[in-house]
């Protein structure tokens, strides 16, 4: 029988999953690892694991190996955390796996970007069950309906790894994956203080999040968790402002789903102008304060 299990690390994943589940068109249940989910997402059951802390991937995969019994599809919102765990589970339970699904042709045929988003592949899954991670931006949110049945389970998650420490950065700004506005900076931002003042300043003015290129992260100008692109975060805001960013394939792979892309670059031939909706040829150190004044 065909049935989908969505595994949510936190309640926001559950909300982000409803569109994907509706597109797949199968009856579905939600397994919430932490926290409590909304009750009207269109799923039949909500299974709560009530974990205080997400254990290392080997433990989590062991703990969930039984819980996936009876499901033809096991899915998570794409993130570093879900990839770490779900591919482990696919190994443990010998599941086919598809990473970063952006479109569904049928319950066994999916679309996903490859080679840094420069190609879209249609992949066919030849065995069941299948594990997959998906990017929520591609799946419109359905109208909410119904009330789910609630259950809880207890997971045994023995791990050979020991967590020594965990640190969460961020703070007051919205999360990159949820933000409506993102202001991103690249290599010319010089140092962390300048990045925070210029890029952070405009982001705060717009109530947005901050992002960066790999070049900015590598040179210590920006923290790694805000890297956007093929190997960083995939974002889909209403407005993406790229300041001092050349527009490499790897960076653009992460921002293509943005509604409006604005590029500020002093080189009129920068490749980013080919993809931006609005391009401003200017020095970002003049343009950003001017934008702030203009909207004040």
């Amino acid at each position: 029988m065909s049935r989908l299990l969505v595994i949510a690390f936190q309640p926001s994943d559950a909300v982000a999953s409803a569109g994907f589940a509706a597109s797949l068109g199968l009856p579905w249940d939600l397994l919430c690892l932490t926290g409590a989910s909304d009750l009207d997402l269109g799923n039949e059951k909500i299974i709560s694991a009530n974990l205080d802390l997400i254990p290392p991937a080997d433990g989590l995969a062991t703990g969930l190996a039984k819980a996936i019994d009876g499901y033809s599809h096991i899915a998570c919102v794409s993130s570093m955390q879900s990839k770490d765990f779900l591919a482990r589970l696919a190994g443990t339970s010998d599941l086919a796996m598809v990473t970063d699904v952006v479109g569904i042709d049928s319950p066994t045929t999916f679309k996903r970007p490859i080679v840094a988003g420069s190609i879209i592949a249609t992949v066919e899954v030849l065995s069941s069950p299948v594990a997959m991670t998906f990017r929520p931006a591609g799946f419109p949110k359905p109208a909410r309906s119904g009330v789910s049945v609630q259950e809880s389970i207890t997971l045994e998650t023995p791990s050979k790894a020991t967590i020594v420490s965990r640190s969460v950065r961020g703070g007051a700004r919205p999360d990159l994956s949820q933000a409506k506005v993102i202001v991103s900076g690249g290599r010319p931002l010089k140092d962390a203080e300048t990045f925070e003042r210029v890029i952070g300043g405009l982001a705060d003015k717009l109530g947005g999040a901050i992002g960066a290129t790999r070049a900015a992260v590598d040179s210590g100008i920006a923290p790694n968790e805000i890297q956007v692109g093929q190997t960083g975060k995939i974002v889909a805001p209403d407005l993406y402002i790229a300041a001092g960013i050349s527009g490499s394939t790897q960076h653009m792979a992460g921002i293509k789903d943005s509604k409006i892309i604005v590029a500020i670059n002093k080189d009129p031939d920068a490749p980013i102008f080919e993809l931006a909706d609005y391009g401003l040829v200017a020095d970002l150190y003049d343009a950003i304060p001017a934008i702030q004044n203009e909207i004040a």
Binding site: D58, S79, M80, Q81, K83, D84, R88, A90, G91, A96, M97, V98, T99, D100, T109, P113, I114, V115, A116, S118, I119, I120, T122, V123, E124, L126, S127, K160, A161, T162, V164, S165, R166, S167, V168, R169, G170, D175, V181, V217, D218, N224, E225, D238, T249, I260, I261, F273, L275, A276, D277, Y278, G279, L280, A282, A287, A290, I291, E294, I295
Partner: protein, 245 residues
């Protein structure tokens, strides 16, 4: 200590690739091929570990066509001790690659398997985790720092919102993220020395059972052509009109 580093031959990430006209695959004609950048970082890390603690034997392995020898030689030039080419024209998917690598790891018994977090051609980000599962080893993916002791490794790994430090006993598996290190430049002496290092060719130990197959490729939907604006005030007024500000 033994370290095993699986490496994949991929199209140069700085080359722009397109689908073949009939959609049957990716057009890589004329393109350069390289070691997957994340695997190059894994090789570099293995070499640094040996430089730090001494008694370490590094084996690199690649599954694929005969041409993978080129990337294995480069890894030898970077400092790996020996290479294994599991030569096959067959189609593999992530799970079947993981199973083939698991068979090799069972034979070689490396304390540490170090590899890339993802291949830049298929962008799957699966094989490391699957291999660790098949071998029942603990894993640390997305490593940005690795410290080796006599009994295991302590790994700082990147997470969605910060970082995490895990301690893993041997045998274990670590996948490399971009910021683990910067691979060294290979000089001529390294390249010459690599020619006389052992490179063993063998046939696969397993028969791949493919569960996921690419059936078609196409170019991504194009974004509508944008335009340049002449001033900040024009930009701001457009964005206001469109409700974006």
């Amino acid at each position: 200590m033994k370290v095993l580093v699986p490496i994949k031959r991929v199209v140069d990430p700085y080359t722009k690739v397109r689908p073949l006209a009939d959609g049957s695959g990716v057009d890589t004609s004329g393109a350069k091929f390289e070691i997957n950048p994340f695997d190059e970082i894994a090789v570099e890390e293995a070499v640094r570990i040996r430089e730090k603690i001494g008694d370490v034997e590094i084996t690199v392995v690649s599954i694929g066509k005969s041409e993978c020898e080129e990337q294995l030689r480069k890894a030898l030039a970077m400092g790996a001790d020996k290479a294994i080419l599991i030569e096959s024209d067959a189609e593999f998917d992530s799970l079947s690659i993981a199973k083939e690598l698991a068979a090799l790891a069972t034979e070689l018994q490396p304390e540490l398997i170090l590899m890339g977090k993802q291949a830049t051609d298929d962008d799957c980000n699966q094989v490391g985790q699957m291999l660790a599962a098949k071998l029942n080893r603990p894993q640390a993916t997305f490593a940005s720092k690795v410290e080796v002791s006599t009994s295991g490794v302590t790994v700082t790994r990147e997470t969605d919102d910060g970082d995490e430090t895990l301690s893993l006993p041997f045998p274990c598996l670590v996948t490399a993220d971009l910021r683990l290190n910067e691979p060294r430049y290979i000089g001529l002496p390294g390249i010459i020395k690599a020619r006389s290092k052992p490179l063993e060719r063998r046939t696969p130990a397993t028969t791949p059972v493919v569960k996921v197959r690419v059936v078609r490729v196409e170019a991504p939907p194009a974004r509508e052509a944008g335009r340049k604006v002449s001033s900040v005030s024009e930009l701001v007024s457009i964005l206001k009109d469109r409700g974006a500000l």
